[in-house]
C-alpha cells in the first residue's frame, strides 16, 4: 500500500536519482536470474528439475577439484585468498608457455568482460560483437554508457567482413565468441588470423573461448597460441563449463603483457575466493580423463537429440559446445513455461534474438530422454 499523505514534513531529503544516476544506467533493465531450484519446483509444481539451461557439466568438477573443495577447512574461511590468484596464474602460464603476468583471473568470465570494457572504453566509444551471441558483452557496454554495435550473424556465424566494416575511430574492443554460444559455430584458425591481420592491432580483439574444451574439430584455433603474434588479442577462458565449477565463479583472461597490465588497473583484487582458486588449480592438473568423459557424454547426448528432433521434424543447430538449439513451431518462452511444468528447464532463445528457438544443454541420458518426452508432450 502506498504511503498515505501526511500533514507534516520530514527533514530527510531523498536523493534525486534522475540527477545522480547516468541515463544509460537508469535506462538499463537489470537481468533477473532464475529463482533457486527449490523455489522453481514449488511454483511450477514439479517434483524434480533437470537443469538444461546453463550449459553446466552434469559430471561436476574433476575428482581432484572435488577433493580440493572437500579438504578446504572452515578456518581458512577467515583468511583472505591470494589477491591475484598467484599459483593459478603460474599454472595457467606454464601450460601455455606465457608469463604469469599475462594472465588475469576474475570472478567468472563475466567479471573479466567488465575489466576489459572498463579498461579500454569511455562514453562515446563503441564495442563490436554479434547480435546472436553471449549477451554479457553487450550488457556491460550498454550499462557503462558504451555503444554496442551488434552485427547480424551470417549463416549462423560471426560475420567477419561486416564486423570489420563496422569499425570506426571510436571502436575500442571487438568481442568474438568462439565457438559461439548459442549457435556452436566457430571461426577456423585461418579465418581468425585473417581477421586479426585485418584489424591490424588498431582495436583489442577478445576471443571468448568459454567452450573451447568441448571442440574436437582440427581447424579450431587455440587462441592462446596466437598471443605471441597478436599483441591486441585477449583470450577468455572459464572453469564454469568443461571443468564444472560454475558455482565457484572463476575465469580468466590472457593477453600481451602490456595489454594485461592496463586491464589489471580496472581489476578489483581479492574478488576470486580461495576455494575457487584451489579447485581451478586441481581442474587444470586433472589426469583422470574428465575432459574425455565429458566429451563422450556430450557426443552421446547430441546424437540422441539430433535423431529424436529429426523424428519430430524439428530443425536442430548442433555445432560445437555442450548445447544445441532447436527450432520450435511456436513461442520459445511459452515452451519454457510448459517444459518447466514437466520438470525441464531449458533456455528460451528470444533473449539471444532467436525467437522460437530453445537451447538445450547436452547432459546425461536420463535428462535427455526426459526432455524428449516432455517436448513431445507439450507439442502434441
Amino acid at each position: 500500500m502506498p504511503a498515505r499523505p501526511i500533514c507534516w514534513c520530514f527533514n530527510m531529503i531523498e536523493p534525486n536519482l534522475n540527477l545522480l544516476v547516468p541515463a544509460y544506467v537508469r535506462e538499463f533493465e537489470p537481468y533477473i536470474p532464475s529463482k533457486p531450484d527449490s523455489e522453481l519446483q514449488r511454483i511450477y509444481r514439479c517434483e524434480r528439475l533437470y537443469r538444461l539451461n546453463n550449459n553446466e557439466n552434469p559430471l561436476g568438477p574433476p575428482a581432484g577439484a572435488q577433493e580440493a573443495i572437500r579438504r578446504f577447512l572452515p578456518i581458512q574461511g577467515g583468511l583472505y585468498p591470494s589477491g591475484d590468484s598467484y599459483y593459478l596464474r603460474q599454472e595457467i602460464a606454464s601450460r601455455h608457455g606465457i608469463d604469469p603476468d599475462q594472465v588475469l583471473v576474475g570472478n567468472g568470465a563475466n567479471e573479466v568482460i567488465t575489466f576489459v570494457i572498463k579498461a579500454f572504453c569511455e562514453p562515446g566509444d563503441n564495442i563490436i560483437t554479434a547480435d546472436k551471441t553471449f549477451a554479457v558483452y553487450e550488457w556491460v557496454a550498454v550499462f557503462s554508457g558504451i555503444e554496442a554495435r551488434v552485427i547480424p550473424l551470417r549463416e549462423e556465424r560471426f560475420d567477419d567482413l561486416a564486423m570489420l566494416k563496422a569499425i570506426d575511430e571510436a571502436t575500442k574492443v571487438i568481442f568474438l565468441c568462439n565457438p559461439n554460444n548459442p549457435t556452436g559455430t566457430y571461426w577456423s584458425r585461418d579465418t581468425l588470423k585473417k581477421f586479426l591481420d585485418a584489424v591490424g592491432g588498431r582495436q583489442i580483439v577478445v576471443v571468448d573461448e568459454a567452450y573451447c574444451e568441448f571442440v574436437e574439430a582440427d581447424d579450431y584455433p587455440d587462441g592462446m597460441s596466437l598471443l605471441a603474434d597478436y599483441p591486441n588479442l585477449v583470450v577468455f577462458r572459464t572453469f564454469s563449463k568443461m571443468y564444472g565449477i560454475a558455482g565457484l565463479r572463476i575465469g580468466y583472461l590472457a593477453g600481451d603483457r602490456s595489454v594485461v597490465d592496463m586491464i589489471r588497473r580496472t581489476c578489483v583484487v581479492y574478488s576470486v575466493n580461495a576455494i575457487a582458486q584451489e579447485a581451478a588449480l586441481a581442474c587444470l592438473r586433472d589426469e583422470t580423463g574428465h575432459i574425455r568423459r565429458t566429451r563422450e557424454l556430450v557426443r552421446e547426448g547430441k546424437e540422441f537429440l539430433c535423431t529424436e528432433m529429426g523424428v519430430m521434424g524439428l530443425p536442430v543447430n548442433a555445432g560445437e559446445g555442450n548445447y544445441l538449439i532447436v527450432k520450435l513451431p511456436g513461442s520459445d518462452t511459452l515452451a519454457y513455461r510448459k517444459l518447466m511444468h514437466e520438470g525441464i528447464m531449458i533456455r528460451p532463445m528470444t533473449g539471444f534474438r532467436y525467437p522460437n528457438h530453445i537451447r538445450v544443454t547436452l547432459a546425461k541420458m536420463d535428462a535427455m530422454e526426459a526432455f524428449v518426452a516432455a517436448l513431445k508432450k507439450i507439442l502434441a
Partner: protein, 446 residues
Amino acid sequence: MVESIMNQDHDHDRIVSMQLTARMPFLPIVIQCVETAAGVFGLGREESLKLGLATEEIFSYLSERGCRGEIIDVRCMNGISYVRVELHFPLSELDMGSLNIASSVNCENEDNMAQMGLALASRSIDRLNIIAERKNRICLLIEKDKAYPTVPEAAVAPVEIRGALTVGTPDPEGVKLYVTRVAQGPPDPLRPSFFQYPGQVVDMVAAGDCQVLTVTDSRGECAGGLLFHYWKPTIVEVLGPHVFEQAREGEIEGMLLEDCIAKTARSKAIALLNLTGMSVSLQSQFEYLGFTKSYSHDGTVVEKPAFYRLLNEDPGCRIFTDMVLKDYLQREYDRLFLAREIQEIHDQGETKAGASIFSTDMLRERSLAILNPLWPGVDLDANVRRHIQFLRDEKINNIFFYIDLGVSWQASLIPILLDNNFRTAFVAPFAGQADLLVFQYDRTES
C-alpha cells in the same frame, strides 16, 4: 513566490518549468506561461488556447480547493507531436478525494456539478492523467496534440514488390509512406487515429514515443510495416504487421516480427502485446489473452482480441485477489502456464480512512477512459459509482479499470467492480508490479 526557468541544457530544451505558490493572483502568470510555451513548441493558436484553458481550470481548482498556498511546480514539455503540461504538488490527506476527476459528482444529487475543475479541463485537451509520486506528491498532467494534415486523398500507386526484401528502420519519408499505405488500406475500426496523420507518426518516432519498421525491396518499395511503442513501462504494444504485398504475406510478417523481437529482446521490455488484431499466421507465436469490446459513437461494437508474447522466462510471482475471482485467475494461469502464487485477501475489519483516488486516463478521440486506483480509502464503492456516472455523462463509451494484482489493497476493488457491471477482459502478465487484470464496463447491463 514565482521562479521561472528556461532550461539551457540541450537535453532539456524541450522543457520550460516554473515554480510558484497555489494562489489565484498567480493564475495569469501560469496561463501566459503555458500558452506562450505551447506556441513556441509548435502548438497551433487554437490548441494553445485550449491547453491554457485547461491549465486555468486546474490551477484555479488547486488554488481554491486542492492545495491552496502550497508550492506547485509547473512544467511545459514539448512532446514533438503534442505539448504536455505537468503540475506537481503536495496534497494533504483531507483533500485527497478532490483529485478524482469525478470528485464533484455526487451520486445522490446529479445536479451538483459545481467546482468540477478537472472535469472541465478534460474537455478541452486530448489526455489527462494523475500520477502518484513519492513523498505524498501528485503529478497532474494534461496533453494537447498538435494539428496535422490527414492522409492525402489521392491514392498512392499500388505496390509492385520485386526480388529480395530487407527489413529496417525507415527514414521520415519511409514512415510517411508506410502510414499513408496503412490509412489508404481497408478500413479498420481498431486502428489508432494517428494512422490518419503521417506527419504525427514521424514526430512520434522523432520523440521516441514509438518505433516503425518497414520491409522494402531492392528499389525501396514498401512491402509492409509495423509500429511499436511502450504500452506500459515494460510491455510493448505492436500495431501490425501491415502487409501491402499479399503474395508474400508470410515472409513479410515474419521479417517484421523477428526484427521487432530483435529490437526489444535485450531492452527493458518483458513482453509484446497486440490489441488491434493480428493475422492468423502469426497468432501461433503469441498467446491469446482474451478480448475487449470497442464501442463506437455510431453504436457499432467490435471485439478486440488481445495477444501476448513473453520475451523472457517467467520467474513466477505472487498475486492478490478477492476470493470471487480466485478460480477465474487460477484457470487463466493454468491456461497460460504461468507460475503464480495466488493469495486471497480478506477484509477483517481493519480501519480504513480517507478518500480513495483513481487516476483517469482520458482519450476522448477514442471515447476511452482507463481508471487506475492510486490510493485506497473508505469510499471505494462510491468512488467507482461516481466515476461511472461521470464518464457516462461525458459520453465515454469504453471504460476500463486496471487492477494491479501485485498490490494487495487493489484486490479489494474486485467485488466492487463486478457489482458495478465491470467484467474481466484479460490478464496482462507483468504489466504492473505483478500482472494487470483488465476490467471493462459492460454497457449492455447498465
